[in-house]
């Protein structure tokens, strides 16, 4: 343990640039997955409120399944199952990066669908009634009254999800994606310094996630006041 500062002094100029380079991949995965998760989440939140029972049931089944599976298992399923079930299609475009983003996005979509739905339902029924009694159509009341308020409500949970997503990108290493975890493993074993390297990786993750969690805390306080 006491040798750590010395180990870092000798090696950090080699390790850090390389790890940071792969940290960019991590960020890329996180950003694309986040975007996908938001879209999927919105879509399924709307389906959940649909009047057609079949659509509602499908949405609920999807959400419960994607939330009930561990992310790792979902990643393995998303990446390995389609090419085997449909061997006729050309799967060359389906890289591990794509599989990872798809898996994380589908998982996140299920989580965000519930966040969005409860955000809309949290609004007092009276808001909708006031809007329609002024002559607004349901679409207008949703656009000008419900959604602006719901957005404020869902912002903290969505930001919290983003932080979790950043950490969950580490699981992509388990299906072979070349992000920071896999790079760390190769450096650690090449240089025989697993403790030093993995602690460094932990610090890099912390530096990426901590500012976000501070922002979330500020957001939570600000948005709680203005209601």
């Amino acid at each position: 343990m006491s040798k750590l500062p010395q180990i870092y002094a000798e090696n950090i100029h080699r390790w850090l640039p390389e790890l940071l380079w792969f940290a960019l991949t991590t960020l890329k995965i996180a950003l694309v997955s986040f975007a996908l998760a938001v879209l999927v989440g919105l879509a399924f939140a709307l389906l959940r409120t649909s009047r057609i029972v079949l659509l509602r049931g499908l949405a609920t089944a999807y959400i419960e399944t994607a939330r009930g599976l561990p992310i790792v298992v979902l990643l393995y399923i998303v990446y390995f199952v389609p090419p085997q079930l449909f061997p006729g299609i050309n799967w060359q475009w389906f890289t591990d990066f794509t599989g990872a983003v798809l898996g994380l996005g589908l998982h996140g979509g299920a989580i965000l669908a519930e966040v969005f739905r409860s955000g809309i339902e949290a609004l007092h029924k009276g808001q909708r009634e006031a809007a329609v009694s002024l002559g607004m159509t349901p679409a207008q009341s949703m656009t000008y009254i419900i959604l602006p308020q719901a957005t404020r409500i869902v912002l903290p949970p969505v930001a919290n999800y983003a932080i979790g997503l950043l950490k969950d990108t580490s699981l992509c290493s388990l299906i072979g994606v070349n992000e920071i975890m896999n790079d760390a493993k190769s450096i650690a074993f090449a240089d025989y310094q697993p403790m030093a390297v993995f602690v460094l990786v932990a610090v890099i993750y912390f530096v990426m996630s901590y500012p976000l969690s501070l922002i979330v805390r500020v957001l939570e306080r600000r948005l709680a006041v203005s209601r």
Partner: protein
Amino acid sequence: MTFWQYLEAKGPYLLTTLLGGWPQTAIVAIGSLLFALIFGLAVALVRLSAWRPLRWPAIAYIEFFRGTPALVQLFVIYFGLPDIGLSPTPLQAAIVGLGMNGAAYLAEIYRAGIESIHRGQMEAALALGLTPGKAMQHIVLPQAVRTMLPPITSFAIVLLKDTSIVFSVGVVEIMALARNLVTETLHSAAVYLIAGLLYLCMTIPMSRLAARLERQRQAWQ
């Protein structure tokens, strides 16, 4: 052979093989849950201690373990500790790793639970002549436990799902066996889908239970 034919033929074999991983999954889940429950309580109490300087290590612990991925923490423990002379087995590394990670989350659940009951009840207890210690023991903590049951159940479900990462440090649980099966049979689709089903059979009933507990808590409030 189509997928469905394969499933019919080899399904039972795959299922029984995968179920062989269930004991290790359970051991890791329960072991790390207990570790997290106890260690998390300790961290929470230090976090809430009256002596301010003592709080900072607890806060640092919570922030760090919540701000870094569990996988990294596992690797530090399993691959890193041998550097300083400790050689944990895969199982030990998994339980301690997930346990320490979980303790950080539970510490916050404990803190929120205690703080949600704290003020008015504590004041009433003190007004009746109870000491702060007795007030905490007989009035605040029993109520806090009821409040904390739903989030702790949710956390237990998360922990169960997290056991799926410990194959990376050598624990032979469900996912480890799944990967072996795929190497053996080359039929990744059937194997991973059955593994997924196994997890769903565990997590979905637990989620229903957690939801029921949450509804009960709302009713009490």
